[in-house]
Amino acid sequence: MYIKGVGMTKFGISGKFSQMLAYEATLEALNDADINFKDIDAVVCSSLEWFFSIEKQRHFAALLASVFKTHKPIIRVPAACAGGGAALWVAQQLGYDNVLVVGVEKLMTCKSESITDEFMMAAESKWEQVEGLNFPGQNALVAQQYLEKYKKTTTEHLALISFKNHSNALLNPKARFYGRKVTLEEIKNSPIICSPLRLYDCSISVDGAAACVVTNEKTDIKIIGSDLCAEYLPTWEREDSLRWEGTIISSKNAFNQAGVEPSDIDVAEIHDAFTIVELIAYEDLGFCKKGEAYKKIEEGYFNLDGKMPVNTSGGLKAKGHPVSATGLAQIYEIVKQLRGEAKDRQVSKAKIGLAHNIGGAGGTVTCHILKKICG
């Protein structure tokens, strides 16, 4: 299928309710596609319907029917942080001509303790939640294991990933950290959240929505690879917690569908819920060998001026991470890059882009490869 239009809200702290954020992203996507809602055959939405949210709102799909004034099918696809990517994957399986895909989250309505608890609900309840293994903790254990096994990789490399993403967000008007400079020293000296991860190793919770219109009609952006893979929820239950099979399998399938290699990718949005997750994804996506991501980090390979820029939007780290909207915000950025509309953060001659979206600590993974169609 093809992408006809994309839209997203600014990510940050919003006074708007979820359905209004979804409306805002949808309006931009419809305008970008130069269509109106009459042309949409179905909607796939994603939202977690937070337990602690002040909105106290369930049945989000029907709520959107009120906003969109429609009786067309609307289905909700929650998949933790991979909700956006999963919704896009599902949209392509439905057989409709034009599908609106919209992801939204309204996180900033409660204290961070409650958000920590809410995120922890995506961990296994009796093996992980009761042991206090919250979301940063799950990923911190992976980081600790990685640094223990691959001694040449240090927290300095994690800091460089964070610094890269913050530097990119500085240039993205829709990012939470737009215009806010963060130095490498600040990152390295930020407080420990869950050892070895520091504050600036963690993505930032924000409100936001993102949308796209997928279509069978030929447009300038083609989805040439799309896959979704499930993985055991707890990382420690997997044979190797440092190889995220969800990423390996979904990207392998997407590359096969697309008929391209990792080296053909010009720009990528990689799920950086934590810096260690981005680092492991470099390896699992095939951009470097296992245990050798540090080399490419040191040479600036993934920087905006590097050979294959990653997270030009600022990533989850600095653009922000409104959970179910994240996967579609990645698509927004890749589409902007392929169209040459990314302004100050534009990657030159970008033709093929990859979006990699993860739910939980690798429990659901989607991989989408988009290609700019010329002429």
Binding site: D117, K126, V130, G132, L133, N134, A140, Q144, E148, I193
Partner: protein, 376 residues
């Protein structure tokens, strides 16, 4: 004593962290694999609190057993990679075991009893089990002792040699028909399943026992057993603050005797504190599978997902630690019992095994209507 459990297919060796009954791939039979040689292979120190884990920093260890099975474990203590992780059982009077339920209540009950030094049983032993079934309620409400805890305890005892015919479950309800409470709690099914006896204590003979200034009328059958298990559900209570080991003993008394005490709250505290002294020795197994928070069963309390089993040889130790785990304000009857030498109530002198106290403490909805708490 620490364990890592897996359910493994005997045919194809696939492993699950859940107690499945048959393999989904080959329909093979499932056996439990329990690893007990456990090492620390990783850890993270967590600095951000959340309601179920309010005390920071704490550590989450990544443990691995001799089969390569792993699990996370919360602890306040510091460990190094390669350290052995183990719990040392204690038979001491001031010891209490706290175990967490990993989907298998039987294993949690068994581990809790092993941690307090295991229980020696033979076929001739007459065993009394006293659950809390005073109010009719479905198990998911946390109002009564959960049938899975009863099932776990019965299985433990029978595996150790107890004769089901010598096991009696006894309880009474002061406010509701006993049959209704037994049926709704599903304990009647357990009685049938294991072939054990069921006794309505209200229909037994009561004998007089004196302790200090109090006169108790106690069910005579209590003195006919070699081994007694007091199995309260851990729930908040408007009157007492908590229903634990002590409160559960009150239904060994006659209804009239009970009513005499509750008319005067000071008298109730005093009587409750010395009640264990007139009874034979017993072991308390606190059912924290679901439990209850808020104002308890009488005043719109709600289930609390505690996911724990407590086991102690002394009721003061039991109730004091439950109070601490649930961050409840002081329980005067426990303090009084402690001062009277019935058991240890100073936290620093209590040996908590299985899980550290600070690693399991959590805020629950308090019983704000407690008359005792209002007197603070």
């Amino acid at each position: 004593m620490a364990k890592i459990i897996r359910w493994i297919c005997e045919k194809c060796n696939k492993k699950w962290i859940y107690p499945i009954s048959r393999c989904l791939y080959c329909n093979g039979e499932i056996k439990k694999q329990i690893g007990m040689k456990i090492k620390v292979i990783g850890f993270t120190r967590i600095h951000i609190p959340c309601p179920p884990h309010p005390i920071v920093p704490y550590n989450v260890l990544l443990l691995e057993d001799e089969y390569g099975n792993r699990m996370p474990k919360k602890t306040i203590k510091d460990y190094n990679i390669g350290d052995t992780y183990e719990d040392i059982p204690s038979k001491e009077e001031n010891a209490i075991a706290i175990t967490k339920i990993k989907y298998d209540v039987y294993e949690a009950v068994k581990e809790a009893l092993e941690l307090i030094g295991d229980i020696e049983v033979d076929r001739t032993n007459k065993i009394l089990i006293k659950p809390n079934l005073s109010i009719p309620g479905y198990p998911y409400l946390g109002i009564g002792t959960h049938p899975e805890v009863m099932r776990g305890l019965l299985r433990y005892l029978i595996e150790r040699g107890a004769n089901p015919k010598n096991i009696t479950i006894a309880e009474q309800s002061f406010f509701f028909p006993f049959d209704k409470a037994i049926a709704k709690s599903r304990i009647n099914q357990i009685v049938k399943e294991f072939g054990v006896n069921l006794v309505d204590l209200s229909k037994t003979e009561f004998i007089e026992k004196k302790e200090r200034e109090f006169v108790f009328r106690v069910s005579k059958i209590v003195y006919d057993f070699d081994l007694i298990f007091n199995v309260p559900v851990i729930k908040t209570d408007m009157l007492l603050g908590i229903d634990g080991a002590f409160e559960n003993l009150t239904r060994f008394l006659s209804k009239e005797n009970f009513n005499e005490f509750v008319r005067d709250i000071k008298k109730a505290i005093g009587a409750l504190a010395v009640l264990p002294n007139i009874l034979p020795r017993f072991i308390t197994i606190g059912d924290g599978t679901i439990g209850m928070q808020g104002n308890g069963p009488a005043e719109h309390g709600e289930p609390g997902f505690y996911n724990m089993i407590f086991a102690a040889r002394n009721p003061v130790v039991h109730d004091k630690i439950v109070q601490e785990v649930l961050c409840l304000r002081r329980l005067p009857y426990v303090e009084l019992a402690g001062k009277l030498g019935i058991g240890e109530y100073e936290v620093s002198k209590i040996k908590v095994i299985g899980n550290e106290l600070d690693a399991v403490r959590r805020d629950i909805k308090q019983p704000i209507g407690s008359k005792l708490i209002k007197k603070d």
